[in-house]
Amino acid sequence: MDFNLSTEQMEMRQLVRDFARDVISPRAAEIDETDEFPRDILQQMGKLGMLGLPIPEQYGGVGADFVAYMTAIEEISYASAALGVILAVHTSVGSFPILYFGTETQKQHYLPLLASGRMIGGFALTESGAGSDAVAIRTRATREGDFYILNGNKVFITNGGEAGVYCVFAVTNPERGARGITTFLVDADTEGFRVGKKEKKMGLHGSATCELHFDDARVPVQNRLGEEGQGFSIAMRLLDGGRIGIAAQGLGIAQAALDAAYAYTRVRKQFGQELNQFQGIQFMLADMATQVEAARWLVYHAAQMRQAGVDCTREASMAKLFATDTAMHVSTDAVQLFGGYGYTRDYPVERYMRDAKITQIYEGTNQIQRMVIARHLQS
C-alpha cells in the first residue's frame, strides 16, 4: 500500500508550509484579535496559486490534485484556521460547483477570477430553519422572462461580504421537495442582494460569517448553475470533498496544538524538572500525538479515494468526524498543558481551542457524520 506523497505534492506542501509559517503565523494572533478579513494575505496566496490549486490550468488554476489541495488546507490551518476555512470554502464549495456543473461560459468567466484570488467564492445553502436539514430551505426563486427573482434569507455564510460570487440555493418548485431546489451564481453586485449582519463568533476570527438577504434579487437565467431542480444533487456532490477539506482543517489545528504543547512542556519547569519529564504529561502528549497521526491517515486516505474517483462518502465522514474531534481534544489538552498561561491570549492554544469547536459543527455536524457512517455500514 503506497501512502507517500509524490515529489510534486511534497514540493507544493513545502511551499504552502513555508508561506504559512513565515507569512501567516506571525499575523495569526492579530487576525484573531481584530477579526479583520485578511485580504492582503489572500492576495499573496492568490499570486502563488493557492486559491486555485485544484482548478485546471486552462481555467487559470494550478491543476494540482485533490491530495495536494488537502495538504494546503492543513498547512494554512496550522497557521490560521480562519484562513483555512476561507480557502476551503472558496475552493471546495465556491469554485468546484462551477467547475463541475458550470457551462463553458460560466467556467471561462468565473474560474480564472476565482483561481487567481481576484474574486473570492462563497456558498449559500444554510438558512435559519434549514441547517442539517438542508431540504427545508425557504428562499424562493421565480422565473420572470430572462431572470429569476430571488427572495429569502441565508445565515452563517462564510466569506459573506467578501465573496464576489455566491452559489445560492433556492426553491424553484416547492411541490418537488429536494428535486425542487435550484442553484444560482449570484454576483455580489446583484440588484436586490444585500449582505446583512456579520456574526460575532467564538473563534475563526478574521473569517467573515454573514447573513445574506435577497429582496427581489434579479439573477439572469444564464447564471443558473445546472438545470432547474438539480440544486440538491449539486449540494450532495460537493459534500465528500467539502468534508475532507474540513477534516484537513481540523488536522492542521490539531497538529498546531500538539506542536505548541510539546514545545512548551519541554521548557516549562515545575518541581525542578521539565513538564515533559512527568509520566502523566508524557501520557497526555502520547495520546495527543497518536490521535493526530490517526486523523492524518483517515484524512489522506479519504483524500486519496476522492482523487481516485472512488465512492468515499463513508471515509469522508469518518475523516471529518475523527479529525475535528481530534482538533477539539488535542487543543483542549494543549490548553491544559499550558496551565493558566494557556487560558491567556499570550499563547496561541486558547485560539486553537476556540477555532477547533466550529469544525465539529459545520460542514455537517459530527452527529450527522455518525448518521452517514452508520447508514453506510452495510454497503
Binding site: 510534486e8 513555508d18 496559486g49 494550478v62
Partner: protein, 255 residues
Amino acid sequence: MNILVCLKQTFDTEERIVLENGHVKEDGVRFVINPYDEYAVEEALRIKEEHDGQVTLVSVGPTRFEEAIRTALAMGADEAVLGDDPALFGDEFTISKVLAAIISQRPYDLILAGNQAVDDGSGQVSVRLAEELGIPHISMATKVEVEGNKVTVHRDAEGDTEIVTGVLPMVITAQQGLNEPRYPSLIGIRKASKKPLTHVTVQDLKLSAEDLAGRINVLETYLPKPKEAGRVLSGELTDVVRELAEALHTTEKVV
C-alpha cells in the same frame, strides 16, 4: 540576455548539525537553496523580467541538488545544468574548474552567484570562476543595475556604500540585502518538472586529472564547544573593572 546562476544546495540554517564518524550526518535533514544563491536567483529573474532573456542554473553536486534546482526553476528560471557525476566533486579549486568548463560551453552575458555558501563559507568559488573564465567580477552586491552591457553595483563598505561599475560579461556575487527572494508559485512547481535539466558527466568536459584533483584535505571535522554559562563578576566596583579588563585581555583575548 543570457544569465547564468551558480547554485548550491545547503543545509537549512535551522537544522542541527550532527557528526557521525567525522562526517556531517545528512539523514532526515532539510536541504534548501544556499540562501546567498537564492538572492542571485531572484536578481537574475528580476533582470530577466526587466531586460528579457534566459536564466540558466548551473550547479555541481550530488543528485539531491535537483531539489534545490527544481525550487529555483519553480521561481522562474528557465533551465538547469547539473554536474552530478561524483568524478566532478572536490574542493573550491575543483568546483570552479568544473563550473568554468560547463559555462565556457555556452553563451553567457552575466553570471550571478551567492557571495558564499552557508555550509563551508569559503566564498571562493565564484571569484575563482571569474578568473578561470578570464572575466571581471564584482563581489558582495547589495544592488545591481544593468543598462546595455554596463553594470552598476552597490556594495557595503564599512557602513557606507561603494558604487562599482563594470562591463559585461562578468561575475557578480550576491550579498544579503540584495533583494527579497520570491516564493516559487504552485504553478511554477508544476512547470518546473517540464523544464530542461541537463546532467553533465566528466566525459562531457575537457578537464585534466590535474584540474579535478583538489588542493585541500579536510583533516578533522568537529562541532564548536557548547557555550558555557557566563561569569558574573561581583565585589568592589574598582576590583570588578580591573578583573573585567584583565579577563578581556588575557582569558577572552578580545581586546
